[in-house]
């Protein structure tokens, strides 16, 4: 009878924990920035799943620890033993097997979602001599056949320098804003100049490091009109924090209009790094240390100042 009651209570507890975990998993969607791509929805689904599983494990283990701390207290001078059990083969096998299964389940979900992301065109890094015997010439050409580009409608060059973003559009227009047509696959050709940068738009849930001299592409399909922020995600030196750019997802017509406009009349550059160099913010401590990259920017600032 007592055994039965124990199992009954245990069942209720587990069910309760599952309910709470499920609820947390639903909440998880609200912790994220807006979803502006199809990928974002998939990533959020995965995250929600991870939160549910994680919450369940957390509740179970921390719950047991808390319960012990509250109800299994010894009297201050009672130094006798708690229980003699040194282990239990059954239990130990169980709690090796259960996490293994859980982990495999998580791994399966993750692989599944990753295969749906379908975002990356990374050139094969190691060109084994065995693999390219006859096509030795293709190694030189920029469009090596080894890398099958994902089909895309639009192609934009993304150029990261220390410390600004530049975008070159199909009509050769150049801008410091990223404009993307909605619901179309756009292939971003990521190029970094001197150091590694990272392409990251939180609302897209996508991120890719940009390595100088390395052909790396990212295919995005934004599906929500709006203004978002592009942020450099790979630390790139002194003014790293200022490497932001605005991202506009807009209808095809608006996008085309903007392309024409920008080709005729480029917008004046408002570079926050140069602005900060000209008017350094007032800080309590000033180290004023400089690096090769800072010096380079400072020089170009002087040139610009002389120009204007």
């Amino acid at each position: 009878m007592l055994k039965f009651l124990e199992y009954f209570l245990l069942t209720i507890l587990i069910a309760g924990a599952m309910l709470i975990s499920h609820w947390m998993g639903q909440q998880a969607y609200t912790w994220m920035p807006p979803q502006a791509t199809a990928e974002a929805q998939r990533v959020d689904t995965l995250f929600s799943f991870l939160v549910s599983v994680g919450m369940f494990i957390f509740l179970g283990l921390v719950g047991m620890m808390l319960y012990s701390a509250l109800f299994f207290r010894a009297k201050p001078d009672d130094y006798s033993e708690g229980h003699p059990s040194r282990g239990s083969v059954k239990l130990e096998i169980l709690w090796t097997a259960a996490p293994t299964l859980l982990v495999l389940w998580i791994a399966f979900q993750n692989t599944n979602i990753y295969s749906q992301l379908n975002i990356l065109g990374l050139k094969q890094i190691v060109q084994l001599p065995l693999e390219a015997p006859a096509h030795a010439a293709s190694v030189e050409s920029p469009n090596a056949a080894s890398d099958t580009p994902k089909p895309a409608d639009e192609r934009i060059q993304v150029i990261a320098t220390q410390w600004k973003w530049t975008f070159r559009y199909p009509n050769q227009a150049v801008s410091h804003e990223l404009h993307l047509p909605v619901n179309e696959r756009t292939r971003l050709d990521l190029q970094a100049e001197a150091v590694i940068h990272g392409f990251y738009v939180p609302a897209f849930r996508l991120k890719q490091d940009m390595i100088p001299k390395r052909d790396i592409d990212l295919v995005v399909t934004p599906n929500r009109i709006g203004k978002y922020r592009l942020q450099d995600s790979q630390y790139s030196g002194t003014y790293f924090a200022l490497m932001e750019a605005d991202v506009y997802v807009e209808s095809r017509e608006a996008y085309n209009q903007w392309l024409v406009a920008i080709a005729q009349q480029p917008i004046d550059e408002i570079n926050s790094v140069i602005a900060e160099q000209l008017h350094p913010p007032k800080t309590l401590f000033k180290a004023r240390w400089s690096s090769k990259a800072v010096e380079a920017v400072a020089k170009s600032t002087e040139v610009q100042e002389g120009d204007s």
Partner: protein, 223 residues
Amino acid sequence: MSSSPQPKPIHVDESPIDLERLRQKFPPWLRRFLPSGGGSHEDHHGKGMFGVVVFLLSESIIFLSFFFTYIVLRLTASEWLPPGITGPERSTFVILNTIILLSSSVVIQLAERSLSRHHLVKFRWLWLMTILMGSYFLIGQGIEWSQLDFGLRTGLIGATFYILTGFHGLHVLSGVILQVIILGRSFIRGNYNSGHFGVSATTLFWHFVDGIWVILFSLLYIW
């Protein structure tokens, strides 16, 4: 787990693996490197050699990271040899150098064996010969460096070639210095009364340095 606390349990140990029995099954030369169960405080030779082996295994990872770098760069670089550079050549000079270094491993092993058999004089001669062979290798390496048509800054080939051979050369040099010290100490009376751990350790180190050279030679001159 019921709640009858009466008979106080006394936990008895059941250790499934008898390491000492396992150890006895190995041949003596290998047994030297294996721990002899608990309480072998006095076995200084074994303890020391164990430490040296562990250290050398660790040291080999540095070389491994360099080999890895070399292989990756060589596979990925679009232009491994800058125009006009032929790269290191597998000349008879280099091959001779290699043969001398590798055979010095045999010589040093013979030296250690003579010492174990208490042939001190023979030990000194063989030991001196190892020193000479090692020094010959170092000098040969220097000559080869001076004759190459590329420098440290000549592309990736220059950087990797000089770093790899230089780091190895540094190990050869350390080995030779250790050998000289040991040769000097062999003239101290009673130096080997409490074993010859230093000699064994240096011998092992020398084999290690030679082993690394085999890999280096394959990577740099044969590939």
